[in-house]
Assembly symmetry: C2
Homo-oligomer: 333 residues x 2
């Protein structure tokens, strides 16, 4: 058993995705060679909204997590919505999502939105753990919901086939035992990579009144080679520093729940970590990269199958636009 | 002296605004009667960007706060950017702002963005206080930066003349004494008011590819009567519940630093709180409503004049889109 730094416990989890879109459909529509998506992006099926919103997906995932935890919305002290995409500039996504959860109009919880793009769930988990050290906070509902599909275009086959929409949520509760909770969290921002993954337009810097829709301005752009360079440059030191003082190492962690960033990224994790591939949760083929929802969707996949046992540890880890690296080591109880 | 719930201390503050725009200029340009702005919105001068960004304003405020606190960026463990406006959909505003702070490329702090619109600074202050209870976190830099001017139009004279752009930042540090810090924080979201203040377009719910710029879609809209109704309905109970267990009441708090929401809102505070008007910080006439930056700008105004004394308490309070009410009681040391 590891030394828990911030006692807390995952009491329940839930997920929700919109309609499935098969790779063959995309390949036919956009003139890609048959089989290109699975071969290059590693994705056979992803889910794309028709008319649903970030709040629609998030509220469904939240309700599933509440049910799984056996608690009601009025038992929640804090709602944290997490993610890089949102429905409106104003109000906050937390308000929009809560307004779509059944009974949200009667809720009196604190609610805020947190954004570190793909790492938003990890950041929210850490903040929830901090807040749960306050005796007045008993339960935090963390909801990561993302709609990536509106911001991708046919020009870049990789982003077109890689990204999916989806949501997942967890209920975190205070733990009196001290045997379950956050062992360590770390997040580092390397601004040399601030332009390596971005949507340049749509907000203040390139406001819509001056910049009408264009793929260059409003579709997600990433420089894959630069992101790889940044990861190779900074990940080894990040990992070494992360495990310092934890009395464990990556190869001894029971489960790795990584951001479902890409086929290449997921493929190298068992080698970097020196762990068996079946200990690295991989849902890329059926879900795609769902930005910050990927990690809790993968966690839910693990928990729904009853594979996460009491006393086992889970490493959440990923990289994000920014450029950032983040990781959180959690011991389940 | 009050009982401090979460020890921490404001070690420094800073602010930054772009060019001043006088009400007469707006009145002439948009055909408003001379003197309308000051009379109805209470604003004589607000500041609007020419080409600056949220990150530009925020990074300048951050540097001023670091200088005031006598610390360097490498002394900061966590950067929290707070606000309802941001420069880009991706990456997070935290990355964009850090990349504009001098030495940001060498910073290795954790960084994330928090949004509860006008209450974002209060939320970030509370999260910073939670994080500072962790012995590994010594200093948190909170930066609230807002560019409101791009999202307001001439159709609504009140929003046109009321809103300004600006930024303010504080350095919060761990406090060993336990005599300074957060006495209480509370935030409640009443989703019945989710449509009372909004920008409907620009993000997932009304994506720019389907909805080209239009004032109806991309300009800030507020239903002033509905916001007033919600405040009258919920504020008395919120205040009563907030001061419960604090061993104090609003009239005994040394300083009130309210959101600079509107002339009417600021005008009634001394009466509701039963405090002298000169104990309620009011910078509306020279700054306008700068969304979440208003509260820390007003705090900086108070601190720059050396009016906040050791042992005195400050109540940060406001309402926001959502509809939310939030308050944080801080004792200075």
């Amino acid at each position: 058993m590891l030394n828990v730094h911030k006692p807390c416990r995952i009491a329940g989890s839930g997920a929700h995705v919109p309609s499935a879109v098969d790779s063959a459909t995309i390949e036919t529509e956009h003139g890609l060679p048959a089989g290109w998506s699975l071969k290059h992006s590693g994705v056979q099926t992803r889910h794309w909204i028709e008319s649903e919103t970030v709040a629609d997906l998030g509220s469904r995932a939240a309700q599933n997590a509440l049910e799984d935890a056996g608690v009601a919305l009025e038992d929640i002290d804090v709602l944290i919505t997490a993610g890089g995409t949102s429905d409106q500039h104003i109000p906050s996504q937390a308000a929009l999502t809560l307004s779509r959860i059944e009974g949200g109009d009667r809720a009196r919880c604190q609610a805020f939105h947190v954004d570190t793009t793909c790492l938003s769930f990890i950041t929210a988990f850490r903040l929830a753990a901090d807040m749960l050290q306050d005796p007045e906070v008993e339960r935090v509902l963390v909801v990561a919901s993302e709609v990536a599909s509106v911001g991708i275009g046919p020009a870049n086959w990789e982003t077109l086939t890689l990204f999916g929409d989806g949501a997942a949520a967890v209920v975190l509760e205070a733990s009196p035992s001290g045997e379950t909770g956050v062992v360590k969290h770390s997040h580092r921002l390397y601004t040399e990579g601030v332009r390596a993954a971005e949507i340049p337009g749509g907000c203040v810097a390139n406001w819509v009144e001056d910049h009408a829709f264009s793929p260059e301005m409003h579709h997600f752009q990433m420089d894959g080679r630069e992101l790889l360079r940044l990861t190779l440059k900074h990940l080894p030191e990040f990992i070494a520093s992360f495990f310092e003082g934890t009395d464990t190492r990556w190869s001894d962690v029971a489960w790795t729940v990584p951001h479902q960033a890409s086929k290449t990224g997921l493929g190298v994790i068992p080698k970097i970590a020196n762990v068996a591939p079946d200990r690295v949760v991989n849902i890329l083929e059926t879900r795609g990269n769902c930005i910050s929802a990927s990690i809790p969707m993968a966690l839910h996949h693990l928990m729904a199958d009853d594979r996460l046992q009491s006393g086992e540890s889970v490493l959440f880890i990923g990289t994000s636009a920014g450029y950032s690296i983040g990781a959180l080591l959690y011991q389940h109880g």
